[in-house]
């Protein structure tokens, strides 16, 4: 199979685009898709400071690499969840990338360690406060990313969510008719109230397979191993189903998620209405002052519970 663009030997075929690319043309394709996402969703400009949430996985490291290559000012934040060998390995991968690649662009890496603040790793913490590990993890990551973005005065926070992540989440929300979540499923969420950072997903136009290929081709060393906590999760099941459909009918995932985005854009909720809604229900947490709908935010509630059960 030859490259659709330059006719040399191809290294990857992209059925959903009816194309195949050599390494150089594939990198061009990936960078172009991200540049398009940034522009069409008004994500950020060249003079703005971006905080990239990095996990050591292919998506977030690829994202950091792409943004730096495109000339953006992007620093990283790694949250060490304290999941044994898995966290140790992913931490090493992130540190290595920061030293070998990011540093040469003048970018730095921030670090937050869950165990240091909570007194236990994520798994023990979740057990002690009787909550599912993945939702505990989600709450902590969201909170810490936002906190660092606000404290360090970043203009925007970027995560490595890809087309597969968003299509799977959309499928889950539609299957359970969780319409209230649909408004927040766009790739660019404004900083609706003081204390909330703007959040963007510049990889929403690229599939998981494309990002893995980008990492392999550009020798980005990432953690291939699955998070041990996510095994058998609903998200993984949705992704599997979608990939079966995609293999039979290329383009299914993008038609599903991008089609949804188109519909949302036509309908509303425009940035203003979403901002208005947020302003009506959000106010500062009594304990930490990060915006919340409750008196005390879910992160502070969790930490308060952890303090009562974990001896320090």
């Amino acid at each position: 199979m030859n490259c659709t663009k330059c006719k040399t030997k191809a290294v990857i075929d992209l059925p959903r685009h009816n194309a195949a690319f050599c390494k150089g043309c594939f990198n061009g394709f990936v960078h172009d898709q991200v540049a398009r996402a940034i522009k069409s969703e008004w994500m950020f400009g060249k003079d703005e400071r971006i905080l990239v949430a990095v996990s050591g996985g292919k998506d977030s490291l690829a994202l950091w690499n792409i943004l730096l290559t495109l000339g953006y000012r992007a620093d990283g934040l790694y949250v060490d969840l304290g999941i044994g060998a898995y966290s140790e390995q992913s931490h090493t991968k992130v540190t290595k990338f920061a030293e070998a690649v990011a540093a040469s662009h003048g970018a730095t890496l921030h670090l937050h360690t869950v165990e240091q603040e909570a007194g236990a790793g994520i798994k023990e913490l979740a057990q002690l406060i009787h909550r599912p590990t993945c939702s505990t993890c989600g709450t902590i990551k969201r909170y810490q990313f936002n906190r660092v973005a606000i404290e360090q005065q970043y203009d925007v926070m970027a995560t490595g969510h890809n087309l597969d992540d968003e299509a799977a989440r959309l499928l889950g929300n539609v299957l359970h008719w969780q319409e209230e979540y649909l408004d927040k499923q766009g790739p660019s969420l404004p900083a609706s109230v003081a204390g909330f950072a703007k959040k963007v997903k510049p990889l929403y136009r690229l599939s998981e397979r494309e990002l893995a290929a980008y990492a392999v081709l550009n020798r980005i060393d990432y953690i291939v191993e699955e998070c041990p906590m996510a095994k058998g999760s609903k998200m993984l099941q949705y992704k599997e189903v979608l990939n079966r459909l995609e293999t039979e009918s290329p383009g299914t995932k993008q038609t599903f998620y991008w089609g949804f985005l188109e519909k949302q854009k036509k309908k509303q909720p425009t940035a203003t209405t979403m901002t208005e809604k947020d302003r009506a229900v959000l106010h500062p947490c009594a304990s930490c002052s990060q915006p919340t709908t409750a008196e005390v935010c879910s992160y502070c509630k969790m930490m308060a519970r952890a303090k009562t059960v974990i001896p320090r």
């Binding site: 290294v11 998981e208 397979r209 998200m235 993984l236």
Partner: protein
């Protein structure tokens, strides 16, 4: 050829020559969820693989 698989990590021996596409089908693996790496290089679905090749089939899906 030696084929290295993940989740769980294991190695299987497969008789060549064989196209990437057919190898995946034989192992019952979905194309969209995997990359095939020969030595250090990514290969496309129509690539022919031979006995003696070192192959890794890497899953691309993560939990997020």
């Amino acid at each position: 050829m030696q084929v290295q698989l993940s989740h769980p990590a294991r190695t299987v021996e497969v008789k060549g020559p064989k196209k990437v596409k057919d190898l995946l089908r034989e192992l019952n693996l979905v194309v969209e969820a995997h990359l095939v790496i020969k030595g250090d290089d990514l290969v496309t679905e129509d690539e022919m693989l031979y006995d003696g090749d070192q192959i890794e089939i890497r899953p691309v899906i993560s939990g997020g």
